[in-house]
Amino acid sequence: MATVRLSFSPAPAHVRTARLVGVAVARRAGVAEELLDEVRIAIGEACTRAVALHRQYGLANLVQVEMSDGGNYVVRVIDRAPIEAGLGIAVLPPEELANTSLTDEALTVGVGFALLAGLVEDLQVRPVDEGIGTEVRMVWPVAR
């Protein structure tokens, strides 16, 4: 199993780097070419969410991204925000997203989750095993 780890300061400028690395590792792992766009968007959304939470809570902690290739391509994006913040955000149904009375921030968060849920078949959002934080775990098949 090959693993690539990336940690970055919670700044929007670094989310693009995480996307680029995530797609490069996915390609190398053998994820089908037609899935790479989805991988790029999903890693971007998970990292954007983590950055937003760290900024909301004034946390300087690094956002962690771990990519591993062991039968499947598994990407874990880990934030260090209080659990209730991370898990309290439900996926909004489409009719809610289309409701233009939502604030821009609420809409962006809802759209982010709709994209994650819509693009990643194997998606888990759960508390981290140790300490405070949430892990967004995404799995894609690899062709061998």
Partner: protein, 115 residues
Amino acid sequence: MELSLSTRTQGEHTVLEVGGEVDVYTAPRLRERLIELIDAGATQIVVDLGRVDFLDSTGLGVLVGALKRLRAAGGGLSLVCDKEPLLKIFRITALDQVFPLFATVDAATEAGPAA
């Protein structure tokens, strides 16, 4: 690729051509440009996403924000997009039901004032 923005007028419409990546880092610049256009009196804005190769939830939030501002002022915003990966994002988020979407700028401007 960085974000690029350029504006032109086509009939009654202000066309904002967007290129590159619209994400959490670059979306604030798109928001600023749209607010500038609206503050300068534009009421019918067509955002051409033809040269966009990445669009995330932050970018979508900015577009919805501009749509709301324009509608509140009696105007409208439509989008030009014919790339399947981007169209898929609009479908997944149900925002294809919120924005008038067109394949070309001409189709968007000929459709008359956006809803």
